[in-house]
């Protein structure tokens, strides 16, 4: 993937998030979001290393992952606004965005849950003769969830073509990583015999390079890799924090953290006029996307239970 493509992705995610935050403020998005601002290089770099038929699982902070994997921003805005034209027909919202046709097995609102889902899907794809890999994204908080550690064991034992991508943004909500993680993050994966690397998660090119190596390894049948991407969350844990002051990060820390901006880091690699052109392109795309989403129909309340079961249940009672 080219320099400009990577830039386009981080810029797209950034501006998508900034607009989504505005829509939360204006009430078009109900329930709030977990902004991805500051972490764009991880999604962009990782997904740039994937094929369209590769799989990912995402998190509560997942807009960046699905956009980088190719989701149509209009359908993503529409999902956040709970519209019928949304990715999940308005049934999932921010924390469950899924597009199976793009290999997106869904964001998951339960921290640590998706690691084993990605592992199972990757294992199944191999058994079906496919050469796809799966990537499971999660935060630093997730490495304290036993179910995720169990998944590391299965993936390593069975040499599953899965990548575990930990976005270490320093906090699980208000909990600093050093108060929550005894030992090291990469040490958790290494304990299961999984090669694990700690990389600069603010630079899309570095993330892309590390992911490409891990993907090659997985496709070659050598099993899982773990990447700790050191990053920083520029905004709130969740938009509710815009109203509640939780006071767990100092002003100095915030400004140091924000000083390494993935959009700037990648943007600096472009000629000024190319960058301006991409920015304009992104803005036009998002204008159109937001317009489409805002103009989409709301689902019919009478269909609230549609899709509850895959095999229909005639006698469903209220």
């Amino acid at each position: 993937m080219s320099t400009v493509d990577l830039y386009r992705t981080v810029r797209l995610i950034r501006r998508f998030e900034e607009r989504a935050i505005e829509f939360v403020r204006s009430g078009e998005i109900v329930g709030g979001i977990h902004p991805y601002v500051g972490q764009e290089a991880v999604a962009a770099g990782v997904c740039a290393a994937l094929r369209p038929d590769d799989l990912i699982t995402s998190t509560h902070r997942g807009h960046g992952h699905v956009l980088a994997k190719g989701v149509n921003p209009a359908r993503m805005f529409a999902e956040l606004m709970g519209r019928e034209s949304g990715l999940n027909k308005g049934r999932g919202g921010s924390m469950h965005a899924a597009d199976l046709s793009l290999g997106i097995l869904g964001a998951n609102a339960i921290v640590g849950a998706a690691g084993a889902i990605a592992t199972g899907a990757a294992w199944a794809q191999r058994r079906r003769g496919r050469s796809t890999v799966a990537v499971s994204f999660f935060g630093d908080g997730a490495v304290n969830e036993g179910m995720l550690l169990e998944a590391f064991n299965l993936a390593s034992l069975w040499r599953v073509p899965v990548l575990f991508v930990c976005e270490n943004n320093g906090y699980a909500t208000t909990m600093p990583v050093h108060s929550a993680v005894a030992g090291s993050i990469t040490g958790r994966a290494k304990a299961f015999g999984i090669p694990a690397f700690s990389i600069d998660g603010q630079d899309p090119e570095k993330v892309l390079a590390a992911t490409t190596a891990a993907v090659d390894r997985a496709r070659a049948g050598k099993g899982p890799t773990f990447l700790e991407c050191r990053t920083y969350r520029f905004d709130a844990h969740h938009t509710f924090e815009h109203r509640a002051r939780l006071n767990y990060r100092s002003t100095e820390e915030l400004s140091t953290g924000r000083s390494r901006d993935p959009v700037e880091i990648q943007g600096a690699r472009l000629a000024a006029e190319d960058r301006t052109a991409v920015d304009a392109e992104v803005e036009a795309l998002l204008d159109a996307a937001a317009g489409i989403a805002l103009g989409s129909a709301h689902p019919d309340p009478a269909a609230a239970l549609e899709y509850l079961y895959a095999t229909p249940m005639p006698g469903l009672r209220r």
Partner: protein
């Protein structure tokens, strides 16, 4: 009289118990910063040994609390979201709950589990909007769903002082309720004792938690038409069967509104008890979430899946007009 909010009442109960009993301590995620506001001010007041921030390790910290209880302490755990109770179902139902009998009465496990924000939180979608009180009642863990600030205070106090595990569900829809309260009158409310939230003579509506407000509103709406009694059991398990019986004996008609799924939920239990004991003048009705409910994200769908005032109104009118079976 000063106003007390439901959430503030829970916060006050925690503060009062931490103050009164040195064996009480709190643990959970982001409780120092008080992300949910449940524990606001308590870290500053009681320090790190009494207010313990945990990593995202729900299974371990739930069993950790059981161990601390076996060693004589009285832990209170905050769970940020209701589905975390699914994640620790084994630890509560199969560990904490079973120690007393399995050891032949050698020990007790006085742990309180509090979920501030159970049920739909408006826009948090499928995995954050459960209201699993019926599950805990079924397995026999004491289960409380307070409706008012005074009850939130008093039931949480009783839960902490109880020698068994107790789950306290604080519905999202109730957290903002504010009442005029004379603080001097705040006291423990015993587990297992319901209350008549509104007296009436034509029909008993059983409601819990935030649905009590809805039941009261519907009762007001029907005021010219019928005299609706609202019975709030406050505790799902043990259920105040005598209180329920006394009300139904007067009204001889029964409707339950229940924010859990229909099959084998709280509503099913109330109807079963009624069927066993009372001769009603009309078949009773349940207003519940549908079977297998998963709350869709879009607001109108989320609302459509929850039991609402319109459904309740219709059910009440149904039992009032109907003598025979449906």
């Amino acid at each position: 009289m000063p106003k007390l909010s439901y959430l503030k009442a829970l916060n006050r109960a925690l503060g009062d118990e931490l103050d009164r009993d040195p064996d009480v301590f709190l643990l959970g995620e982001d409780i120092r910063a008080a992300a949910s506001n449940l524990t606001a001010g308590l870290f500053t007041r009681f320090g790190p040994d009494r207010v313990l921030d945990t990593p995202l390790s729900e299974q371990a910290f739930t069993n950790f609390a059981t161990g601390a209880a076996l060693a004589g302490l009285r832990p209170v755990i905050e769970f940020q979201i209701p589905s975390l109770l699914f994640l620790v179902f084994e630890q509560i139902a199969n560990q904490a709950h079973k120690f007393s009998l399995m050891t032949g009465g050698q020990c007790k496990v006085p742990v309180t589990y509090v979920v501030p924000g159970s049920g739909s939180r408006t826009g948090w979608a499928g995995q954050h909007s459960d209201h699993p009180y019926s599950l805990f009642a079924h397995v026999g863990v004491k289960t409380v769903v307070p409706a008012t600030p005074a009850d939130a205070y008093g039931l949480l106090l009783s839960a902490i002082r109880d020698d068994d595990p107790v789950v306290v569900f604080a519905p999202s829809g109730a957290l903002g309720v504010r009442d005029d309260v004379d603080f001097a009158t705040l006291r423990p409310v015993p587990l297992g004792l319901g209350r008549i939230a509104r007296a009436g003579s034509d029909v008993t509506v059983v409601a819990l938690g935030h649905l009590v407000q809805d039941a009261l509103a519907v009762a007001d709406e029907l005021a010219g038409e019928a005299s609706v009694e609202v019975f709030d059991p406050r505790t799902v398990y043990p259920l105040d069967v005598d209180g329920l019986a006394a009300s139904v004996a007067r009204t001889r008609r029964l409707v339950v509104i229940d924010d859990s799924n229909r099959t084998s939920g709280f509503g099913a239990e109330v109807l079963a008890v009624a069927a066993e004991r009372f001769d009603l003048d009309a078949p009773p009705r349940r207003v519940t979430r549908p079977d297998g409910a998963v709350l869709p994200f879009a607001l109108a769908l989320d609302r459509a899946v929850q039991p609402g005032r319109d459904d309740l109104l219709e059910a009440i009118r149904g039992v009032l007009t109907e003598g025979g079976r449906q």
